[in-house]
Symmetry: C2
Subunit: 109 residues, 2 copies
C-alpha cells in the first residue's frame, strides 16, 4: 500500500503515515462517522449514507479494512462492518504523540 522506500523511515512514522492515508479521503471519514453513530453495519445502509457509487464505497470500506481501522466480518452471507476500537485507539495515541512531539513553539529562521 505504501511504497517501498517508506521502509527507510522509523516505524512510528510509518504507522502514523499509514493511518493518515486511511483518513485521507472524506468518504472514509464519513464512513467512520457513520459506523460510530449507526449501530447498523450493512453495506446498503452505508452506501446510502455516502454520496458515491456503491462500488466506490465498497472500495473505501476495503481501504479502511486494510488499515485495520474497521473489521468486515462475515455475518452469514452479508459482511458486517464495524470500527475496530483497539486499532482506533492505537491510532489516536499515535496522532496525539506526534502532535506533542511536533511542538510548534518554534520561531524558525
Amino acid at each position: 500500500m505504501i511504497s517501498n522506500k517508506s521502509k527507510l523511515f522509523p516505524a512510528d512514522e510509518q504507522q502514523v503515515a499509514h493511518f493518515a492515508k486511511a483518513l485521507s479521503h472524506p468518504a472514509r471519514i464519513a464512513i467512520l462517522r457513520y459506523l460510530a453513530e449507526a449501530k447498523v453495519c450493512i453495506t446498503g445502509d452505508i452506501t446510502d449514507a455516502i454520496p458515491l457509487g456503491r462500488t466506490t464505497v465498497l472500495q473505501h470500506l476495503q481501504v479502511l479494512k486494510d488499515s485495520k481501522l474497521i473489521t468486515g466480518d462475515i455475518d452469514g452471507k452479508k459482511v458486517c462492518y464495524c470500527i475496530n476500537t483497539v486499532v482506533y485507539d492505537d491510532m489516536r495515541k499515535l496522532f496525539t504523540t506526534l502532535f506533542s512531539d511536533i511542538d510548534t513553539i518554534n520561531n524558525c529562521c
Copy 2:
C-alpha cells in the same frame, strides 16, 4: 489535489482528509519533525535528514506547502521552509474534534 467528488462531503470532513493526506507519507512526517526540532530550514539540511533523493524531498516539501502546513518563503535566493503554526494548530483541533466525535464505545452488531 483531492478529487472532484470530494466536494460532495461536509467541509470539516474535507479539511481533515486534506490534512491527513499531507501526513500520509513517512517522509512528510519526518520533514515536519525535522522542521520542529531544527531551527534551520534550508533545503540542503532537510534533504540530508531524509533518506530519499533531493528531488523527491523537494516534492514532499511542495505537498506540505500546498497543504499550508509549512511555508516556503523566499529568503533572498534560497527558500526557507518553516512550520505554519496557525495552520498546524487548526489541524490539531480538527483531528481532536474528529477523534472525540468518533466515540468508539460502540458495540456494533
